[in-house]
């Protein structure tokens, strides 16, 4: 067993897990943060994307102990303090950027990582950045629209 202590969405958490526990398992099973989804479990679909020390990673392809001491952000941390939807989440709702919603946590976390680095991405840059996030419902068009709208809202706010 390994004892893992990390900060998730601003709160310090400690839990024991096996060496083989993936970060996605640790978040879902140990910390009960089930917003992070596991789609393919083979690092292709991106539903499990979270941020570790500010950078997007696939939490199904990282062991929990590799995040020892790290600052982790998950979809649960994307809402506003009053529980209302965050800017990117709201844009996904406004622009119909989801249908079944399974891929959405990963899409939102990837979009957040992109917009942090590049506040005004082109459509090509958005599609390129989402290479590792698969959606089987939307055809991506409205996801791209949502991220463009979120980028605009976030730029206007700064």
């Amino acid at each position: 067993m390994v004892t893992v202590t990390l900060t998730v969405n601003g709160q310090e958490k400690t839990s024991d897990c096996e060496g083989r526990s993936l970060l996605s398992d640790f978040l879902r099973d140990n910390l009960n943060l089930t917003g992070t989804h596991v789609g393919c479990d083979t690092s292709q679909c991106g539903a499990c994307v979270v941020h570790v020390d500010g950078e997007a990673v696939k939490s199904c392809t990282m062991f929990a102990w590799e995040a020892q001491g790290a600052d982790v952000a998950t979809i649960e941390g994307m809402a506003e303090d009053d529980g209302s939807l965050g800017t990117i989440q709201q844009a996904f709702q406004d622009h119909h950027g989801l249908q079944c919603g399974f891929c959405t946590p990963g899409m939102v976390m990837s979009a957040a990582a992109l917009l942090k680095k590049n506040p005004d991405p082109t459509e090509y840059e958005i599609r390129d950045y989402l290479e590792g996030n698969i959606c089987r419902c939307t055809g991506y068009q409205n996801i791209v629209h949502a991220i463009q709208a979120a980028a605009q809202t976030m730029r206007a706010a700064t």
Binding site: K58, A113, G132
Partner: protein
């Protein structure tokens, strides 16, 4: 996957000592190893992580070359070699997807020597020197076939030194789902000598296309390889492409690399 014990050394001596034990496996970014362990193609008793060893991370330029720590992630190679070695930076920036590039390392890719990985082509065409905690290899001696390298049990890469070429280019025809190279060709020219390394094409893994090197060393233009024939024998066949298709791509991509080398 089966469970295992975890070791996180913070210096090279401790890492070497831990890896000298039986049934240990080194892990860097884990972007290949973790899927391999999930499918039980590997089930080590102990994983020794190199990511806590700061001295094997980072990019350091020196006279005429750039040295990259083995545990340097693709994203950092892409960002930090952009002006020093643009062809290498562009290769690193197009591996997998952003989340994979935030974890995967150059040393891990070279040690794994996947026949469709990008970095082996850069190392071989770039005449790189691959250093381990024990010795140093030229890229020509390092790659020994499909997923095979000269590394012995317990030996791990510490850094890779790339001489800066006069011009270079990497051209990859992507397998669109994985972004691995269906075929990738890295071309370098240094003091008139050209090296051409091909990944993704051969059943023997990365290799140098020596006929093209000779022709391009005499005349660095796409036309110089026009009459060369790339045989389909020994090329990889899978659902993404036939041997003849891959052989065709080798020449097309070499031409594109020559056209775009700078």
């Amino acid at each position: 996957m089966y469970d295992f014990a975890v070791e996180r050394p913070t210096n090279l001596d401790d890492a070497s000592r831990l890896l000298a034990k039986d049934e240990t496996q080194v892990i860097a970014g884990g972007q290949t190893l973790i899927p391999t362990m999930k499918s039980r193609l590997a089930s080590p008793k102990t994983l020794v992580s190199l990511t806590g060893i700061d001295e094997i991370k980072g990019v350091s330029p020196s006279q005429g070359s750039v040295t990259i720590g083995a545990a340097t992630r693709h994203v950092d190679v892409a960002n930090e070699t952009r002006t020093l070695y643009p062809a290498l930076a562009s290769l690193a920036a197009n591996i997998g997807d952003p989340a994979v590039r935030n974890r995967g390392t150059i040393g891990g890719s070279l040690a794994n020597n996947d026949p469709s990985a990008c970095y082996p082509a850069a190392a071989l065409a770039g005449d790189a020197e691959i250093k381990t905690q024990e010795r140093s290899y030229s890229a020509d001696d390092f790659f020994c076939g499909l997923f095979e390298t000269a590394l012995s049990e317990g030996e791990f890469i510490t850094e890779i030194r790339f001489p800066i070429p006069d011009r270079a280019s990497y051209q990859k025809f992507e397998q669109p789902a994985s972004r691995f190279a269906l075929v990738g060709v890295f071309v370098t020219q240094k003091s008139g000598q050209v090296r051409v390394a091909v990944t993704g094409a051969s059943e023997e893994g990365v290799y140098r296309w020596k006929e093209a090197e000779q022709a391009l060393s005499d005349d660095f233009r796409r036309e110089a390889i026009a009459d060369l024939i790339v045989p389909a024998e020994g090329k990889i066949v899978d659902i993404h492409g036939s041997a003849a298709y891959r052989a065709h791509l080798v020449k097309v991509l070499t031409g594109r690399a020559v056209d775009s080398a700078h």
